[in-house]
């Protein structure tokens, strides 16, 4: 028994684990951003960063070592020719993990892992300085709070007078609908 092991197997055999990490690394190279569980994202991070480091080396030996792990010509080519040059100035920290809540079904913690550089990376809000961002947020917050309050007022009305004519009932039902639609829209990112 080897104690104190820190790598995660995710209930897979070693070969299954390797191939999962390899596939996910390829997806990161091809799409730049994937949605997966938080522990998988954290395990993937180190492998993706090692491959990018190989890409920055750029030599034939590095290319062969990258291919030994990724096993995809298309992905290795893209890694060496388009991804690695983006990270020339950066010493590590090529990926970003953002937690996005728990998955319905098994309540697994989900995260988006993305390359820090590239078109898919999360866009900063208009690249404005921090003070401006805070000021801009204030009116937006006020605007959003108002509909939230309306919802709250509508709900008790419904509870207090359930026998009111249709108009009131319709109002109460119309308010929560957008929330439902929002949750369904989530699934647009690539699942891994």
């Amino acid at each position: 028994m080897r104690h104190n092991r820190d790598e995660k197997r995710f209930d897979r055999t070693y070969s299954h684990l390797k191939s999962m990490l390899s596939n996910m690394t390829n997806d990161m190279v091809m799409y730049g951003r994937i949605r997966t569980t938080t522990p998988k994202a954290k395990a993937l991070r180190s492998h993706v960063e090692k491959m990018i480091t190989l890409g920055k080396d750029g030599g034939l030996s590095a290319r062969r070592r990258a291919f030994a792990f990724m096993k995809s010509k298309a992905a290795v080519t893209r890694l060496f020719e388009t991804i690695a040059p983006l990270f020339k100035e950066r010493n590590g920290g090529y990926t970003r993990i953002l937690k996005v809540g728990n998955r319905p079904g098994d309540n697994a913690s989900m995260a988006i892992i993305e390359l820090v550089e590239g078109p898919q990376a999360a866009q900063a809000a208009e690249a404005a300085p921090k003070k401006k961002a805070v000021k801009k947020a204030a009116p937006a917050a006020a605007a959003k709070k108002a509909p939230a309050k309306e919802k709250k007022e509508a709900a008790p009305k419904k509870a207090a007078a359930p026998r009111k004519p249709k108009a009131a009932a319709a109002e109460g039902e119309a308010a929560p609908k957008p929330a439902v639609k929002r949750t369904r829209k989530k699934a647009t990112d690539t699942e891994a």
Partner: protein
């Protein structure tokens, strides 16, 4: 087979459960839209985190 000898009183039950209390999860406010959100998580209502747009929301809706 081992069996309980005596019925436990309601006091014993309460003592056992004295460590079962759950703690409330932390809630913070989204600086972008003002909705409540979990700390260190992307805002579920506007899809931003630390001023970055992570998930594009409801433009089509």
């Amino acid at each position: 087979m081992p069996n309980p000898k005596k019925r436990h009183s309601s006091c014993k039950r309460g003592q056992r459960r004295s460590h079962d209390a759950l703690t409330a999860t932390g809630v913070s406010t989204c600086p972008q839209c003002g909705e409540p959100k979990r700390p260190h998580y992307v805002c579920p209502s506007c899809g931003t985190y630390k001023g970055r747009t992570v998930i594009k929301k409801d433009e089509a809706l």
